[in-house]
Symmetry: C2
Subunit: 420 residues, 2 copies
């Protein structure tokens, strides 16, 4: 744990921070301390010019010819290849396409299809009660639709631990690498090995870790990974998501969302489906090019970042946030729900506070933007590419002031409507 | 049939054209006659400013708050409500989301689930061999994944006509309203009634008709319709697609792509899926906002158009194209593959020509941009909002000149790579 006794200590840490120059690559609005980059990452400085180019020039002037001339067709693969090393993969393992939910559907469909061929009879899918809900809803939707006896078992509901649920009935395990609410981090290598030992396939949701900390999908022998592009990857609002697939599985599976972009020769217009080889098989339909272009701006930055350095700063900032809150807001009923151990912590810090929703509103009114998550959770996203040590100091000072005055907004709690 | 003996006749028709002012709402590059608006519609004049606003202001400055403040959450419904009247529906029947392929998956899953409840045992899905391939691939993908005895029967392969295939085994029929290659148009009212008489459900793909001609989904008692936004609706490259669902079916079905945006209360973060009522149920995950904003620019124009007037001009222009080609290119082996009858024609005209690919390349080099579709088809998209009678005159004059010189490019035929 570092110790920052004064704001000057923070300013000094910023001066010595090797990642500090990255802040200049993003637009941070004047007077804002942005602690919600794990809902929607900040805008890269290059994004407006690229938006103008893709709309005015490529669409407006280039029209249909831009599909080839400006590389629109290749965007899912090009962006995938750019992103792959950031998550511990290489070219040909990732495509950027569709949404996290839909990519989970593809990954799970692939996992179940492979298991039905290799290990018939396995009919259990494991996830976690506290997983981000859309993951659970997709698993539920698929099992209901298939209607052939798949059961969902949840850690934290059907048993306390993964070990308690892993047996020879399990086809696949789908977990989020970092918990969207608490920031608790699974040990990817250990869990993947444990899942494989039980004969199951492993799907990781990287929404809250891709671009936030080092990930080693290949080294961990992961089977499938999915995630979104609009949090720590700064891809813009609702930017297309990604799917990473181990080479071992890419050509085995004929996925049900088999749109023409996954065809071996889409422009031959054959009435018969013939799956492309490789990661291309996990595409489906035509992608939203303007939003893809925004994602590329964020990915280009992510590809330059030293992930170990990113992790060091992320942990230093989350440590600092916890330290300062506990030192200055100690009289208030703030309960840390994020693991204190570095090993078990992602890149955000969450506190439970009975008046959390009202406090978040007051913070926002003073330019500090965290996130609120039911129930009663203040979530502090730490995005080391553009967050400074002084920002953490100032944010906690404002939080402490709000708590000390007791003057937080008493308006009725309502959905704030931020997207995780 | 109109008769235009001279270019001046065309110029006169343009002066009298009630739709002529719409051309000013789009950017048409200097020196270009754009005949591929049915692959990628032209850019609305408002699009660049809107792109700058959504990127620079809403994302860059508004950050996470823009989900509420700038109505990002409501975009799928807001755009759906804007589009619905254009296709003969009303508010609450359409959402703009995902891709055509994925929306077909949802619609077909809904249709099959409803039939399994109401008419168990029906295990045939009918489509058409000449349907746009992605529709066939999605049907194929779903039946393989479900693995419970669904069979696909194709008009033009398993029988010559729809009547020959319709029986008490049929669960659903999925057809494209206008054929992407020939422009042949199905009679939506008659076919839908025929399908219902056989106890099946009807899914229409409107990719080549939405925004091109009057569609009456409600009046025709259609069950489901899907389509893309980037052709005649001018929504921008890869703009999110739409799905329209009859109220009779909206709340009956629990769709398998059940992501959190289809949940009754997505921000309660319940681990249990609880489907939203209404068309919201057909959403899945977070949508690409920048591309959605571009789609809205196109839809706003579409919503202002008198659809009957649009149809009159579309038919006049396709008539004119056919007339002029046959009058001036008569010595060449151009074979019209588009129906001559107005009743059976969509909004494009296609000719088969052995050297079609090379001729298309020469046209493009002279500023005339049609589309090429395997095998040997020159496809002329007629977009009455920005195409003029003089454009048709000039395009055919250039085509006739290319054919007369015999000097078309002899480069090896290769995929041109335009997106339908």
């Amino acid at each position: 744990m570092t110790t920052f006794a004064t704001r000057e200590d923070c300013a000094r840490a910023d001066l010595q921070d090797p990642l500090a120059p990255f802040r200049e690559r993003f637009v941070i609005p004047e007077g804002v301390i942005y602690l919600d980059g794990n809902s929607l990452g900040a805008m890269p400085v290059d994004a407006p010019a690229r938006a103008a180019e893709v709309v005015t020039q490529e669409w407006g002037q280039g029209l249909i010819g831009s599909w080839n001339k400006h590389g629109w067709f290749d965007m899912p693969s090009r962006l995938g290849d750019l992103l792959s090393p950031v998550i511990g993969g290489h070219a040909g393992q990732t495509v950027v396409t569709d949404t996290t939910s839909i990519n989970l559907f593809k990954a799970l469909a692939a996992a179940l299809t492979i298991q039905e061929a290799d290990n018939p009879g396995r009919r259990v899918i494991i996830s976690e009660r506290d997983n981000f809900p859309t993951d659970l809803y997709i698993i539920e939707g698929m099992t209901a639709f298939l209607d052939r006896g798949y059961q969902i078992k949840l850690i934290g509901q059907d048993a306390d631990t993964l070990e308690d649920l892993l047996d020879e009935q399990v086809a696949a395990v789908a977990l989020s690498h970092a918990n969207y609410r608490t920031g608790a981090l699974w040990d990817m290598a250990a869990v993947t090995a444990q899942v494989h030992d039980a004969g199951a396939l492993m799907i990781w949701d990287l929404c809250h870790t891709a671009g936030a900390l080092p990930i080693e999908l290949s080294a961990c022998n992961v089977d499938f990974a999915i995630g979104c592009s609009y949090k720590y990857l700064n891809g813009g609002p609702g930017a297309p998501a990604f799917i990473w697939v181990s080479e071992a599985h890419q050509n085995r599976f004929w996925q049900p969302l088999s749109g023409w972009w996954s065809h071996r020769a889409p422009f031959e217009m054959s009435p018969k489906y013939d799956a492309a080889d490789g990661i291309q098989r996990f595409l489906c339909g035509t992608q939203p090019i303007t939003s893809m272009a925004m994602a590329e701006c964020g990915f280009k930055i992510a590809a330059e970042v030293d992930q170990a350095e990113l992790r060091r700063k992320s942990l230093a900032l989350t440590d600092l946030f916890i330290e300062l809150v506990e030192a200055t807001c100690g009289d208030h009923p703030l309960t840390l729900i994020t693991p204190r151990s570095h090993r078990d912590r992602g890149s955000h810090v969450s506190f439970r506070l009975p008046e959390g929703y009202a406090v978040v509103n007051m913070l926002v009114s003073r330019g500090v933007i965290p996130d609120y998550r039911e129930p009663e959770v203040i979530r502090i996203g730490v995005t080391p590419l553009y967050l400074r040590y002084v920002d953490v100091w100032d944010a906690v000072a404002i939080l402490a002031d709000i708590l000390a005055t007791g003057a937080w907004d008493t308006e009725e709690r309502r959905r704030r409507g931020a997207v995780t």
